[in-house]
């Protein structure tokens, strides 16, 4: 055809073809989720029961016991009186403004997501640090995970598993895991070459090198990654609430749709308070375990 319209208009695929592609893919995925959805959901059952158990534990336990435990953990990790008092005051305020239960729900899901990110992320980071090939495969994947709008990957997760806690956890982990992977990889790659050579020269096996030299020396960097992961998980709370994750995100969502500014602000502030507690605790814990880096007392 001697039609020159492609010069003025982009020669795009016809609407019908596009529709066919969409329908085929959607149909295939729908079939897949109908076929295997239950099986996959069953795989996540142990995680779900743990989540429910942990959330109930935090809610059922009397508030003052939780308050005491959290403050004790904070104090043990940071040894800072100021921070501990700050934690007590902010938790009391959270309770006073009626957000205790939601805060406990968020706390539980964030804790579980962080643990999962660490458990999955650190081995992947280690793998990346050992093989340039693994690094070149995983890095673009992490880029996609960090830039793809969360709503987009919520769709297939919800299609597969419906709404609820598990899809929420998966969404949060996908969003929050990249920093811990990236910084584990980076931290191990930055370990002083001569130090590693020394370990090898004295006959350390690869396992002894990993656990005796590489991971301990990469720990400050890995801790920075974990810290970032926690912060990103908290940032996901509101989005996760759209697929049925209960907690501080839901009131925020409600206040957006109903224009309740104060409700939104209060719950937002509660999230901020949690974030600060997590951040300070993980950072000062990391700092305290890296005391050997301070050095230079006498030379």
């Amino acid at each position: 055809m001697a039609d020159a319209s492609w010069l003025t208009e982009f020669p795009d695929m016809s609407r019908r073809e596009l529709l066919t592609i969409r329908k085929t893919l959607d149909g295939a995925y729908r079939d897949f989720s109908r076929e295997y959805g239950d099986t996959i959901e069953a795989l996540f059952d142990p995680l779900l029961s743990f989540l429910v158990w942990f959330e109930n534990l935090l809610i059922i336990t009397p508030w003052w016991v939780i308050l005491f435990i959290i403050t004790a953990i904070v104090h043990l990790a940071t040894r800072s009186l100021k921070l501990s008092i700050g934690v007590v005051i902010s938790l009391l305020l959270i309770g006073y403004f009626g957000m205790w239960e939601d805060t406990m729900r968020t706390l539980s899901i964030i804790t579980v997501c962080t643990i999962m990110s660490i458990v999955i992320g650190i081995p992947i980071g280690i793998l990346m640090s050992r093989s340039d090939r693994a690094q070149s495969i995983v890095t673009p994947l992490l880029d996609v995970m960090q830039t793809m709008p969360a709503f987009v990957y919520l769709i297939p997760v919800v299609m597969l598993l419906g709404i609820g806690k598990i899809p929420g956890v998966i969404a949060v982990v996908i969003y929050a895991i990249p920093p811990v992977i990236r910084l584990t990889n980076l931290g191990i790659r930055l370990v002083n070459k001569e130090t590693l050579e020394a370990a090898t020269a004295y006959g350390a096996t690869p396992t002894q090198r990993l656990f005796g030299v590489q991971l301990p020396l990469a720990m400050p960097t890995i801790m920075a990654g974990i810290n970032q992961t926690i912060m990103m998980a908290l940032a996901m709370v509101v989005i996760a609430s759209m697929i049925g994750v209960k907690g501080l995100g839901q009131p925020v969502l409600k206040s957006i749709t109903n224009q309740y500014f104060t409700l939104g602000l209060l719950n937002g502030l509660a999230i901020v308070a949690l974030a600060i507690i997590f951040d300070r605790v993980s950072q000062s814990y990391a700092k305290r375990t890296q005391r050997h880096l301070e050095g230079h007392d006498n030379g």
Partner: protein, 383 residues
């Protein structure tokens, strides 16, 4: 010279080529193409070419060269931190290139230890834990290796620092920890990669002295890398000079100074303060013209014909020399001071200048092992 009986480490035809496909470039390098040609034609860097070395048991073997000469690459072949492109490395007759991963680990744990230029200490372990590192990864119990690590720390003069972290120590102290760590494994061979180069001159000299002192008792086989000829001369029983990945000369310190193989070595040797670099033993005559105190002068005259001096030990343990001061005088016995074989030439200069005759040289058991004449001393100090 290390002969084949007491050879501990033998390296034959060692090549190291860096690049994407070293095997393809190897024939060209073996064919004699220069480093520059190889780099221009193939983009490969020739690290080492045709290295052949034999290192004897109990000697301090120094490998010397400027930066980029491949000396640090070479020493990393001894324990296979780097694998060669071609060549054999034998230790105690075993070809370590044939070792499996497991054998190699065992070999590294028991046969060789290493001291690094920038110390290579583990910053998260305390000083005593660093010293015991080699033993702890062998699976020894903490109570056992800690005891031993403490002993070695004491030997290098760092007791009291056990629970400090490396970053709390000065450079010199950190390298002492590095040295103690290397000695703690009881390995027969000690690899020292520019071990003292990062230290300031005073500390460096101190550490060299300490190493010499330790070696007197330990008799390890030490491979020492340096770019400093003064250090090489001070420590080395033999010295290998490396240039652009090739061995230029291997020999005793005296040979390097007095008979440099080419202009490169000559340029190195020119700057050396020989009085400070050479020891009495490097210059002395190894003959032992000694006479028992009971013998008479006729016997002494007989020996005098062969050597230009005869010594005898008096009952009090002092030495007397029998020598002609000049042609017109007849020889007579005079009491003389004695020298030590490990003294630096500059330290014996005053004694030599005060004496008219050659002086006896004693070993550490106070026995005569040679003598030093004014003529050989003057020859040596002449540039």
């Amino acid at each position: 010279m290390a002969n084949s009986e007491n050879a501990l480490i033998e390296i034959e035809g060692l090549y190291q080529i860096f690049g994407s496909s070293p095997e393809k470039v190897l024939p060209a390098v073996k064919g004699g193409a220069s480093k520059e040609e190889i780099l221009a034609d193939t983009g490969h860097t020739v690290g080492l070419q045709d290295i052949n070395l034999t290192i004897g048991k109990g000697e301090i073997f120094v490998i010397m060269g400027l930066s980029g000469s491949g000396k640090s690459t070479l020493i990393r072949h001894f324990n296979r931190l780097i694998d060669p492109t071609a060549g054999k490395i034998k230790v105690n007759g075993d070809d370590i290139m044939q070792f499996s991963m497991k054998e190699l680990t065992q070999f590294r744990r028991h046969k060789m230890s290493m001291v690094f230029q920038h110390f290579g200490l583990l910053p998260h372990r305390t000083v005593v834990e660093n010293v015991g590192y080699g033993l702890s990864i062998k699976g020894q119990k903490k109570t056992e290796w800690k005891e031993k690590a403490k002993e070695w720390l004491e030997t290098v003069g760092l007791s009291g620092y056990e629970e400090q972290y490396p970053s709390q120590l000065s450079g010199g102290q950190q390298q002492r920890v590095g040295l103690a760590r290397a000695l703690c494994t009881d390995a027969e061979i000690l690899l020292m990669d520019e071990a003292f180069s990062a230290l300031d001159p005073l500390i460096r000299f101190e550490m060299q002295s300490q190493l010499i002192e330790l070696q007197e008792n330990l008799h390890k086989t030490i491979v020492f890398i340096t770019h400093d000829l003064d250090e090489a001369l001070r420590l080395g029983d033999r010295i290998a000079v490396l240039k652009d990945g090739k061995l230029v000369q291997v020999g005793k310190p005296v040979e390097i100074i007095l008979n440099p193989a080419d202009d490169y070595v000559r340029a190195f040797a020119k700057d050396v303060n020989r009085a400070r670099a050479l020891l009495v033993k490097n210059v002395m005559q190894r003959a032992q013209p000694i006479l028992s105190i009971d013998n008479d002068t006729n016997k002494a005259d007989e020996i005098l014909k062969e050597y230009d001096v005869v010594f005898r030990k008096t009952k009090s343990g002092d030495f007397e020399a029998y020598s002609k001061i000049s042609e017109n005088y007849s020889a007579s016995w005079t009491s003389v001071p004695s020298l030590r074989r490990n003294e630096l030439l500059q330290d014996v200069l005053p004694k030599m200048l005060r004496s008219k005759v050659s002086l006896p040289v004693l070993n550490k058991d106070d026995e005569l092992c040679g003598y030093l004449s004014h003529q050989s001393l003057a020859e040596m100090l002449k540039i």
